[in-house]
């Protein structure tokens, strides 16, 4: 028997790669998803604002704008099928000075032209009614009722689980090192020595898309990193708005937002700094202070005493627009590069669009008769009624052992995450939310290490925070 040749290899298991994989999983195709990090969603997709945008930020002549509007409309069905946390809470943009109405009017017209449903210009009174926590300095604003919030990593996990259920192969810790022609196919080799044969390639490598393109001797471009810093506030904060709150945006950035996350905490940010080093993920004193000041101009009651974490995320920037196209130099390669904001919103439409590009390249799309779009809903202790939790404990007592008190995550959920392949501390955090609450792992960290050791047989010194050299523990006493 000859070596298996995949119809498509997708490089990068972020939100773009995951949507492409999930879309392709509905056709009779052999698809493999290759991720360089220890877990999926560990790159750009793990740290962003988690917003489904309202369709008013970008001019319709851009591909990103068209994909944003199309993608935003696809979220309801995806959330129904996959069960990831998503809510159309609406977005407001706040004018603090009458001069802001000029810019807001442009956003409104743009939203109308893009077909953003229900978009509305608002008086001061209307704004304060929509969001009573807003500053009394508010003079008016814009309301996009169809904007929403999503937990980006859970979105990626659900997409990939659904695709795996429909035949996708996934390799993590699989970093592409070389690519060479082998007959009609590509031979992809990883740093670990393993290799894969595939007929067509999708480059969805996020911050590394430029390096991947070079490995194929395809288009020569440079991805710049644009770092955004964030505060995370405790779910008990009194300053949680009920909608996503934007300032009036500037030319280079949408500004510092106040985002009520779909899981109940609040995000403040992001800033926007062009990076020389794409791996520079450090937060800085000046920018963190700037975030607090900026957020308080929108919601004055925001307090630094509610802060439970600070972090940064890096957007892959390549010019003004997304670059999603069949390579002009290398047949069989589709480039999905420069997917910065509104990439998360656009991602379901990117999945569809890239599938179309692959078809243009000659990929035969035969719908699967037995495609199963629905994922089983995994219960979470925090969302269950007392009676429901009691019933689960009867089946499996680990449901009654609450490991993470802040986010109420049971041992059963953590064990499930580990058995599903998430065996780093961060992987478990993104998958279950354990360690994501106000104690940030101070209480549950030790229990989670014990559970990883019990379930995987790893020694304490082999457990990592997020793979590679991020070893958590120094050894034994």
């Amino acid at each position: 028997m000859g070596e298996r040749v995949f119809d498509v290899a997708i490089i990068g298991a972020g939100v773009s790669g995951a949507n492409i994989a999930r879309h392709l999983s509905s056709y009779e195709l052999d698809v493999i998803l290759l991720e360089g990090e220890e877990d999926i969603s560990f790159g750009v997709s793990k740290a962003n604002s988690g917003i489904v945008h309202g369709g008013f930020h970008h001019d319709g002549r851009y591909l990103k704008s068209r994909l944003e509007v199309r993608g935003a409309a696809m979220f309801d069905r995806l959330a129904d099928e996959l069960g990831f946390p998503f809510q159309r809470c609406g977005i407001i943009a706040v004018a603090l000075h009458p001069d802001d109405f000029g810019a807001l009017g442009q956003l409104y017209e743009r939203g109308r032209a893009n077909g953003a449903p229900g978009i509305e210009m608002c008086s001061r009174e209307r704004m304060l009614e929509l969001e009573p926590k807003l500053t009394p300095e508010t003079v008016g604003g814009l309301y996009a009722p169809c904007g929403g919030i999503v937990e980006p990593y859970r979105f990626v996990f659900s997409l990939v689980e659904s695709a795996i259920k429909n035949g996708l192969e996934l390799r993590t810790n699989w970093r592409l090192e070389s690519a060479s022609r082998e007959g009609a196919s590509w031979r992809l080799c990883a740093s670990t020595g393993s290799s894969v044969l595939a007929s067509r390639i999708v480059n969805a490598a996020g911050l590394r898309a430029d390096e991947v393109s070079q490995l194929f001797s395809a288009e020569d471009f440079t991805i710049k990193g644009r770092k955004g810093q964030y505060w995370l506030l405790d779910r008990l904060t009194r300053s949680k708005p009920s909608r996503v709150v934007f300032p009036v945006p500037s030319a280079i950035s949408k500004g510092v937002l106040v985002v009520p996350t779909v899981e109940g905490t609040v995000l403040l940010g992001p800033t926007a700094t062009e990076l020389d080093d794409k791996d520079d993920a450090a937060t800085t004193r000046d920018e963190l202070e700037y975030i607090l000041r900026s957020a308080r101009t929108l919601i004055p009651s925001i307090s630094e005493t509610d802060v439970i974490a600070t972090f940064s995320g890096t957007r892959p920037v390549l010019g003004e627009d997304f670059m999603i196209q069949r390579s002009g130099l290398v047949p069989g390669l589709v480039q999905v590069a420069g997917i910065q904001s509104p990439g998360l919103t656009a991602s379901p439409a990117i999945g569809e669009y890239v599938t179309g590009l692959l078809a243009q390249d000659g990929l035969d799309l035969v719908p699967k008769q037995d495609w199963r779009p629905l994922l089983d809903r995994a219960p979470h202790a925090r969302d269950l009624s007392f009676e429901e939790l009691d019933q689960l404990i009867e089946i499996n007592p680990a449901w009654g052992s609450i490991v993470c008190r802040c986010e109420r995550v049971s041992e059963a959920e953590i064990v499930n995450a580990i058995r599903s392949g998430h065996h780093t501390l961060d992987g478990i955090k993104f998958y279950t939310r354990a360690q994501m609450g106000r104690c940030q792992g101070g209480f549950c960290g030790a229990r989670i290490l014990q559970l990883i050791m019990r379930e995987t047989g790893l020694a304490a010194g082999e457990i990592t925070k997020r793979g590679g050299n991020t070893t958590v523990i120094g050894g034994v006493v």
Partner: protein, 423 residues
């Protein structure tokens, strides 16, 4: 679902929970303790150093020994203990039409979900460590950052070393104790970095845990960045001079492990859910002279009320609270209360009101370091009492008594308020 009824349900089986429960049991009430961990004792179980019990038992004990002194008395009592049990719901019902005030506590364990009804609840959940986000230290997010308490648990209970080249941020007591513990276990502790001009922990811990081991303590130094991509590589530290960062004097301390001992906060999420009013100065419930919160029948003691220095003081407070709960269950209430407020140079006073007809124990913390200080207790223009103190400092809780001698005269003045200050 399982159900139960008790006179009192105690949330938390640490020192405060056990001591209050034992007192209420002794007075004949049906008491339940709900404890998250698999055994009673709370955070004492990971504090294997000595220094506990000098006041309460007149001898020097380790944390686990101190805990055992209390937990050994539980089997001989009628107290019902639920271990491995996490409270997932707490409702406090006010007195209604023909309905007495009542408490409903729901918890989960491997046996299922249990719902307990009781007349009173004692909050004894203790406190939590502040973390890096809470104190907003900028920089990268590498592996190797632990709160001091988590490191203590890893070393003392799980036998796991967090790392070898250690820097400790913050000079709280757990950080100081862990400096010594890490040094004993073969790690190199390079420094303790404290933002304030004085240590946050007890003087005896500075001497025994740092000075005796030659570990440098950098006072008035701010950690301005954590560095390292995968594992911590160093921290950047900057002195504070004249109230501002002296950026030009910033330097790096190399390390592979960071322990944070940057303060403790009472853990009151359950209290908040139940509608208990909190005091922003302590992070704990506002309580009256009987240690009762704003919710009738809900009492609080120990570190969930205000963070203590010594477990001996926690046990004393908890025992007293147990007695107050007993009075309340019997229907005895003080005929009136005098409000207490924190005056000049005082961070907080606990409790928030006093009973002029009996002896009250008062706890407070100073905002300043001062030799030859005087506590002044005034009611309006009248100085009720002056207490001389050789030395006051924020890291040491001050306790004293105010009884009928001092308060009796105020019992007849409407709206009498006492203010305690350090002039």
């Amino acid at each position: 679902m399982m159900y139960g009824t008790f006179d009192v349900v105690v949330l938390g089986g640490g020192a405060a929970g056990m001591a209050s429960a034992l007192e209420m049991d002794r007075r004949g009430w049906r008491v339940a303790i709900i404890e998250r961990e698999s055994r009673l004792g709370g955070i004492l179980l990971q504090c294997i150093h000595t220094g506990f019990g000098l006041i309460e038992f007149d001898e020097e004990l380790s944390g686990p020994e101190f805990a055992e002194r209390l937990s050994d008395r539980i089997p001989g009592s009628k107290i019902t203990v639920f271990v491995g049990s996490t409270v997932i719901g707490f409702e406090s019902m006010e007195e209604g039409k023909g309905k007495a005030a009542g408490q409903v506590v729901t918890f989960a364990s491997a046996k299922g979900v249990t719902r307990l009804e009781s007349r009173a609840v004692v909050l004894a959940m203790g406190c939590r460590e502040r973390n890096r986000g809470n104190v907003r230290i900028p920089g990268t997010r590498p592996a190797g950052i632990f709160t001091a308490g988590l490191a203590q648990r890893l070393v003392n209970i799980d036998g796991i070393m967090p790392g070898r080249e250690v820097v400790i941020i913050g000079s709280g007591d757990i950080g100081l104790v862990m400096a010594r513990r890490m040094a004993w276990s073969g790690a190199r502790v390079h420094a303790v970095v404290e933002i304030l001009p004085r240590p946050s922990g007890l003087p005896r811990n500075v001497v025994q845990c740092l000075n005796d081991f030659g570990i440098p303590l950098y006072l008035s130094h701010v950690t301005t960045a954590i560095k390292g991509k995968d594992r911590v590589r160093s921290i950047e530290v900057c002195p504070v001079e004249n109230g501002a960062l002296a950026i030009s004097k910033a330097f790096e301390l190399p390390c592979d492990t960071l322990l944070l001992s940057v303060g403790l906060v009472p853990e009151n999420e359950l209290s908040r859910d139940a509608g208990v009013q909190l005091n922003p100065a302590t992070g704990g419930p506002r309580v009256d002279s009987q240690m009762m919160s704003s919710k009738s029948g809900v009492f609080a003691c120990g570190n969930v009320l205000h963070v203590h220095d010594l477990v001996d003081n926690v046990v004393e407070e908890a025992r007293r609270t147990g007695a107050f709960v007993s009075f309340w269950l019997e229907g005895t209430r003080p005929s009136r209360e005098i409000k207490v407020k924190a005056g000049s140079k005082v961070r907080y006073v606990c409790p928030g009101s006093l009973d002029p007809a009996s002896n009250n124990q008062v706890s407070l913390r100073s905002l300043v370091v001062k030799d030859g200080a005087q506590l002044e207790i005034r009611a309006g223009e009248i100085v009720v009492k002056r207490i001389m103190k050789n030395h006051v400092r924020p890291s040491e809780m001050i306790t004293f008594n105010l009884g009928t001698t001092e308060l009796g005269a105020l019992a007849h003045i409407d709206d009498a308020t006492i203010e305690i200050s350090i002039p």
